[in-house]
Symmetry: C2
């Protein structure tokens, strides 16, 4: 990115660099809290993240950035609309407008509340007791209510949260997408339920050495394109990806004793996120452009690698011989076809991260509705388990789960509301992108079967990663695929794959 | 610590808390860099530590803290001289006076230079090539020269560095202590050299399983009093201890294949540091009192546990049966007496951290002289290996070492000059304290032999740890032992122990 040395844009980038350094440092503190921190560190860490978050917010919203931004806007006027400079200024203006609406105290309160809520959530989940989490969750709902008031919204509180994470989308558009998905999926789910016996998932229960599965997973994602010179994998209660800059993008995972609950597919998922972050140009570093277009676009990358690549038939051709060679004691007789079928078994279940591709979006719909009801005061926090159970019955036909397998399964509510929608948008976008990839790369399947992932990664680098945050989700998807975000390609993909798999 | 709510002292503590949060966050970033960070993270991490260090410095030296401090000084006037409030204000005044002398830019430059120098040092050490480190070291000498100019000094540049880390001490007092040590030690070293055969250290070459040695070391320091609920141990190139607050004090170590180069004694050393930090009262948290009295006093705690406890005859009584039980394959026949003798073998050697108690201070004297010569322009950075070799010959009678075992062995010069002196002061103070412990606890040896470390830890908590930074080194040592820092007790301790061991 070029700019007049000493000009307003240059000085703006200096100021934004400081803000970025503070924000990245917070990410390091949070990563450490989740992976390494001893129990005694909670109190100090809460103070540290709160102070750094508040300083980042203050320095961004203090007059200096605004003044430099105004001058930079004048400086770049007339430059091409697609130039890095114009987009940097535009994205910064958008962030500044959003953030100046949020008081610094609220930012600090939310950071402190999140740091306090995390250990409480770990305890509540361990004892499967929603009541232990209720005070922290009530605080979260209250703070998010204040946040939506501060941000402003047209009709629905949720609009404020969506606009912040998915610029251009609204609650009603998301509701329409969900309605389309639900209508298309319901008959598929029913058809599968009537023919559940046609897919045997029992081999997922085979033992899978926990220490070696971790090594195997790291090796797998490295071969898929995750650069370990600029990343690492650690253990945490809830898998996540975090970036401290394009040169240090980390993933975490958790292991389990069987093939089915191993860390393999969560690793591929997080590596999908990480390859996105690793593909953002160094030139965007320490600016607001050095990030994903949105949570949904971020999730499209993890979904694409996890599901559209990782759960595809060609991937099994590549993976299974490696599994056989590395785990001869329990997987010596594994074959691609039954592995592929087992990995795609559709089973309505309690845990979102373990859900199959068909029912996954229903888990998101459930959370989306509960969050809306909490924010709009139609549901009390203490009643969440009941509401959860009712919707689980309606959407997936399941009995009420223990709290640890219900509303306590996700870490997200320790930190924010509204973040789940990105997962469904990610599913939709991943299918849209993949449709285009297949048009451009007719030999994609044989590449994947041969373990050649570089051409696919290169396509994604070009159409998605290299833009960082220059494009909005709809802009990015439209340029890459020819249409804005829609549910059609995902519905077609799922219908075709699972109709064939279950012989419907 | 009590204070009028809303009074100047209260508001001062708020402001100091923010500075502390920033400084602790830098410690987390540095810890991560040394233990976890992938190579690609260097550039961003350098920016992050530089920005946070600079912000901490700016916020501390900006007018706000000074104004609140002035008001707080008035507020506490007349309170007892030993009260937490008076001492907090006094220590803060001292820090502010020192730090306002250092420009914020210099602080940021030093942090950035340190972050850049660390990977260079790792590479230079790996290839044993001082030349690769020369540019980074020249930068460090230049920056430290500017630092001493900014801090000011009476006669010697080094005075500025010593006053900053060891309030009350001067270069000439340290030189006098070194002269006393050298005069007393020279005949001892000669006597030992003539009778080197009397101590057999060969059992230190026995194999010592690297993974299990780590577990054994953690278990050992936990039994000695290091609280793992408020800490953890990781691997790094150079062992260190770091505190993110009294609730999260971490140690690092490195392992080796034999008993002699295992992580055991480095773990005990760092645990000595860590127990000090863990013993600082919560009430001092997020203030300048929440730290050690000085680097030398800090080092007295690591030395006391490593040497005066860990290398003592009673400790062998406790440790050896545990070693026998845990490592029967290589240590099944170990006995306390030969282990104790081997652990105390005096062998002039190249590596400071492996040096015995007798010759250790000579390694420090060598570095102290080289740093002085560099700062005062009598020595060029490129000539350091030669100067090193000459002094090594004179002090220890050794041939020139490879650079990796010479001036590249320590990480310290990636970060600062002047920090080695604290090690010798630590040795002196540890012996002074132990003399007093023995007066107060005549049964100390039998406690240690039985693995009962709580009484000793409790004595140290009371005389050292609980004061945090309330007392200067001389105040602390004088209150605990009856005299300011002197070399006498250490000389007596070493002379008695090693005269007996070698039958001189």
């Amino acid at each position: 990115m070029t700019a007049v040395a000493g000009g307003a844009l240059d000085r703006l980038r200096e100021a934004l660099g400081e803000v970025s350094d503070l924000e990245r440092a917070v990410e390091v503190l949070v990563w450490d809290q989740e992976t390494n921190m001893p129990p005694g560190g909670v109190e100090d860490r809460a103070n540290q993240t709160a102070t750094l978050s508040r300083l980042a917010h203050e320095r961004f919203t203090a007059g200096e950035v605004g003044r430099l931004l105004e001058a930079a806007e004048a400086e770049v006027a007339g430059q091409p609309d697609d130039s890095d400079e114009v987009r940097l200024v535009r994205v910064t203006r958008r962030d500044l407008d959003l953030r100046t609406r949020v008081p610094a105290d609220l930012v600090a309160e939310m950071a402190r509340a999140a740091a306090h809520a995390q250990p409480v959530w770990h305890e509540a989940r361990a004892s499967s007791d929603w009541l232990r989490f209720v005070p922290a969750m009530e605080r979260m709902v209250e703070l998010n209510g204040r946040l939506t008031e501060a941000l402003g919204y047209r009709e629905r509180r949720y609009d404020a949260l969506i606009e912040a994470s998915e610029p251009g989308l609204t609650t009603s558009r998301v509701e329409a997408l969900f309605a389309e998905i639900r209508a298309a999926i319901a008959p598929l789910v029913a058809g599968i339920a009537a023919n559940a016996g046609r897919v045997d998932a029992s081999l997922l229960d085979r033992p899978f050495d926990e220490r070696r599965q971790l090594t195997f997973a790291v090796d797998t994602i490295a071969r898929m394109g995750y650069d370990l010179e600029r990343g690492r994998q650690d253990l945490s209660a809830h898998p996540f990806c975090t970036s401290f800059g394009p040169g240090d993008v980390r993933v975490t995972t958790r292991t389990g004793p069987t093939l089915g609950d191993s860390c393999l597919y969560s690793s591929i998922h997080e590596a999908g996120h990480a390859m996105y972050e690793q593909g953002i140009p160094r030139a965007f570093d320490r600016t607001p452009l050095c990030a994903a277009s949105s949570s949904g676009v971020h999730e499209s990358q993890s979904r694409l690698w996890e599901n559209l690549v990782g759960r595809g038939r060609p991937f099994a051709e590549w993976l299974v011989p490696r599994l056989r060679a590395e785990f001869p004691e329990s997987l010596g007789d594994l074959e691609p076809e039954p592995f592929w079928r087992a990995m795609n078994a559709v089973r309505p279940s309690y845990i979102r991260v373990d859900a199959d591709e068909v029912t996954y979006n229903l888990h998101i719909l459930l959370r989306f509705q509960i969050e809306n009801d909490l924010l709009e005061g139609r549901l009390r926090v203490v009643d969440v388990p009941e509401a959860w159970a009712a919707q689980l019955q309606e959407l997936l036909g399941l009995e009420p789960p223990p709290h640890s397998h219900g509303p306590l399964q996700d870490i997200h509510w320790t930190d924010s509301l509204g973040s789940f929608v990105g997962y469904t948008l990610g599913n939709l976008i991943s299918a849209q992108l993949m449709e285009s990839v297949r048009r451009d790369m007719p030999d994609l399947d044989s590449c994947i079967a041969a373990g050649e992932f570089a051409p696919l990664l290169s396509w994604l680098r070009d159409r998605v990663h290299r833009h960082g945050r220059k494009l909005t989700p709809d802009e990015l998807v439209e340029r890459a695929t020819g249409s804005p975000i829609t549910a059609g390609p995902w519905i077609a993909y799922v219908r075709e794959k699972f109709t064939a798999l279950y012989g419907l």
